[in-house]
């Protein structure tokens, strides 16, 4: 990694949802701030800025990562996919549609991060069991839904066993 001057804004170019975008960032600028405030891509949210809540999750070169724990300069030259890129022609994905059907969101603040984690996860684990899914989701905090609708929505699109043990 090149040595950077802390007091200088450096150009950072990323491929954001398939398009090249350039902005400037001090070396200490978080990727979350860069996306939101430098590039104006507000779909990514911050809920804690200390790596616990998962709201700020995007995919960097395909891998779900927390932008509040990533510096903008670390993303230079890489592909960044955010929630804005999930439904390119305005047609929501099956998962987004399932979220709507199953009331998997209320305020929606956690939703972008959860969708981005799921888009990575479900490529790797197309048919998770409910236990596996909940385990993955435990990296995200949602204060509104109690997670039930989220679990239902994913089980619905994966067609996996939906025998959720109610209690």
């Amino acid at each position: 990694m090149p040595i950077m001057n802390a007091d200088t804004r450096h150009p950072v170019t990323i491929t954001l949802n398939g398009r090249s975008r350039t902005g400037h960032a001090h070396p200490r600028m978080l990727l979350s701030d860069f996306l939101r405030h430098e590039l104006g891509a507000h779909g990514t949210r911050v809920g804690c800025e200390h790596g616990v809540c998962g709201a700020c999750t995007v995919r960097i070169d395909g891998v779900a990562q927390r932008t509040c724990l990533t510096l903008a300069v670390q993303a230079d030259g890489r592909r960044v996919d955010t929630v804005e890129g999930l439904a390119p022609e305005g047609r929501m994905t099956a998962l987004q549609e399932a979220f709507r059907r199953h009331h998997a969101l209320q305020c929606g603040f956690c939703t972008a991060g959860i969708l981005m984690s799921l888009s990575d996860y479900l490529e790797r684990v197309p048919r998770p069991t409910e236990g596996e899914l909940r385990d993955m989701l435990s990296g995200h905090l949602c204060r509104c839904t109690g997670y039930a609708g989220i679990v239902r929505a994913v089980m619905d699109v994966t067609g996996a066993s939906t025998e959720v043990a109610d209690v």
Partner: protein, 1021 residues
Amino acid sequence: MTALKAAQETARDRDRAAGHSAAHAGDRGPLVGQPIPRIEDAALLTGAGRYGDDLPVKPGTLHAAILRSPHAHAELLGIDPSAALALPGVAAVVTGAEARRFASPFLVGVKAPMEHWCLAVDRVRYLGEPVAVVLAEDRYLAEDALDRVAVRYRPLAAVMSVEQAADPASELLHPTVGSNIVNTRSFTYGEPGRVLAAAEHRVALTVHYPRNSCTPMECFVVLADYDPAEDSYEVLSNFSGPFAVHPVMARALNVPGSRLRLRSPPHSGGSFGNKQAVFPYIVLMGVCARAAGRPVKWVEDRLEHLMAATSATGRRVDLEAAVAPDGKVLALSLRQTEDCGAYLRAPEPASLYRNHGNLTGAYCIPHLAVVNRIAVTNKTPSGLNRGFGGGQLYFGLERLMDRIARTLGLDPLDVIRRNLVPASAMPYTTASGGLLDSGDFPATLEEAVERGGLAALRARRDAARAEGRLYGIGYAAVVEPSISNMGYITTVLTAEERRKAGPKNGAQASATVAVDPTGGVSVSVASVPQGQGHRTVLAQVVADVLGLRFEDIRVVTDFDTAKDAWSIAAGNYSSRFAGAVAGTAHLAATKLRDRLARLAAGQLNAPAGEIRFAGGKVFAAGNPENALSFSRLAAAGHWAPGTLPDGQEAALRETVFWTPEPLKAPTDGDHINSSACYGFIFDFCGVEVDRVTGQVRIDRYVTMHDAGRILNPLLMEGQILGGFSQAVGVALYEEYAYGADGRFLSGTFADYLVPTAVEVPVPVILHRESPSPVTPLGAKGAGEGNNMSTPVCIANAVADALGVDTVSLPLTPSRVAAVIHGAEPPRPAGAAVQAPRVSALPATTPDGRGMKGEGSRAVPVPPEQVWAILLDPKELAALLPGCEALQLAGPNTYRAEVVVGIGPVRGRYTAEVALSDLDPPNALTLTGSGSSALGTGRGTGRVRLERTAEGTLVHYAYTAEVGGKVAAVGGRMLDSAARLLIGQFFDRLIGRAGGPATPAGRPRGQPGLLDRLLRLLGIRR
């Protein structure tokens, strides 16, 4: 069928119903009552939501960072912003002086001389209290400058419990009040004293409800601007209401309400009541914008939110019941002491009075004695939090019912049954004046027992117990109040004081329905939704009334106090949406429809009473073929008002204000119907406790709701699931915990444990619908019930599993394990004598943020030389890791600037260091205290110099403690930091004394752990 399968079938039905613009009033019956997915979701799912922090700011906007008190309680001696102002990009530093100049203290809801300013003026009363605001060109620069604002404090003893507050010897938070119990009121309804005295059984219980909060995922956002030409403020914020607080803000900014314009962004990232507490920051940022002469933006971060935003009240309740042998409660005495934190912030003391009309819960208890005391403590001020006051009340009441059963050897469920208000008594007026408006509580309970499978659950418990497992069943029956009476808070005043102040009552809701020139319909309300789906429900309601399609109705919920119809009850709280706001929209739409019907009557030659609206058409009931198009009829008012029949107004826009009829001011006898509606909830659950770890597993949870008419079952289910999940957190994980000295111990989401997908089970949700006679649509609130019923239901089950009388929240594994196994023994003493030993302080700081340790190191020079080094400020400065400056502040007293990093938390500290008990060259005591934006520390160290053949053996023993963010890094990291700092100190000392080269010394000026050392050695705190 499992709840999930049922839900999936409903989901499929609802897709059929609502998938393709087919949702049409009149085609398949009303939209109200159908599980229609939300209008709101498309934007939120695609990243197009516009929350407060997403909105554009005006050019020249400054970004604010708030310097917060590192002390729970201290006098504020002085603030020196000069070093901060010298940093590039810093435009202004605002302090209490500007607050005094441009603002006034907030109004307080009780008659007591307490002052609360938007910035501390001469004293700080909770850790995290705003002390100064740095305004800079960007947030990073503003935060940099926080470290450079020098603040001098004189720490005071902290008051951290209601018991301490009640002790007359405790340090006063508000000396002018003369007590930390700032208000006491006693109420007697019926003859509780006589009945208690004569009772066959008296059962008493004391409970403590902890502080916690629903912590919405979006933190607070305020954009403020001041217009000097108009002397007016314009603020965009995610404040959620109640707008009864608007006059409080306007008063604090010294302007009439018309000169404080508040707007809300289109979307909010949740509130659960918490965003009521944005209001002090609206005033603060207003002052900042005025002082700086530029617009200001502030976005709260999560650490600030957890530490200092708001909290549910803590409460101690001492209960006593007079009980008949069959378990019937004849009289109840409640002595409630409320922990409101450092200030009584509007609308507090509402937490304590919100349930005043339903203090006897779902039960028929004719005699009631109440003593309500309000305590101030050195904690974050309390505020709205989902379940507001209900969790606190029912934790006491439902634990008491359980205790009564156990004391009398009865089945807890039978005790509940015996006391429920019978259906024949409905509507039922409670002892304290509440009017329980509808429902059949006993039948609802029996239905839950039946459909929820209680018999099977009991068999499961018996089987588990037969295997030696710890399994218990708990119950809770509560009424869920909704639509708060704006007058209930005045119950805290005496009748005499109320007479002077004038009556307060009602709960005005407002809604506007308008048609545009194309015949389109829009609805606007002042409900400030926080993610619940108000737009969807309002579209359902209005489409039904006007015979239009769901998607024909445009609902606008961004709120603007300068343009929209509103009153003090506006906002998102007290579960008022379904009953009050949706009902008022129904009234407004109906009014508009009736006006349109009169216009149509002339054209259709039919009486107005026979005009029907369906399928986008308007027609006479007897002649549907001869129909007018709704949009044409509606648009005519815009295009051709001249063609209206004489005496008719165009039907363009209707605004309705509605207040529930039963909401009156408190009577002279202090009877108050505190809410318009009361839903009923009966819950039961089975839990299993791990005998070894103490972990509680919820095996089955059944929750039965009667919230009147259900407007959208999908959204109502969402409300119940969300509230339940938060309640699981309250029951098992969440607590805003403080050390005895005021240190805050729950400062990150790694410490304040919000349940995740693996901790929250899916409950079985059951419904009955007993429409409320009070609200226009018969609906009652439903979103807060489980926050009231679930914590105590789980606690009752855990008590049953453990067979114990006392359980306290949250039921964390360590707390439960302590009940099973007894408290843990202290950690065994450390091993090596020569190595520093660091251990958690017992008792006072069980969290590990306090430390003590001792050790000794050999230094190769005689004691006199060591002594000389320690007493020379220059030498001392060189010994202290991270010390950037050390100045003499008095005899043997120094002021030091130190930069220290502990784990991820690095900060600049200003420390006072003193040497005392000097016994040259044998011993001395170092004491120190220090603070920074990141926290505080204090410590004392005794150093003894023992002469040896090789030189000196330096013995030391210290105690130290830290608070604030720094404490959040955890005991283990603090311990190792302490060891490292002490090691560095001695390495340098040995180096200075001409010993072997120091292996561990860092270059001067580089951030080190020095500060810790200082603190640990008591050199500074």
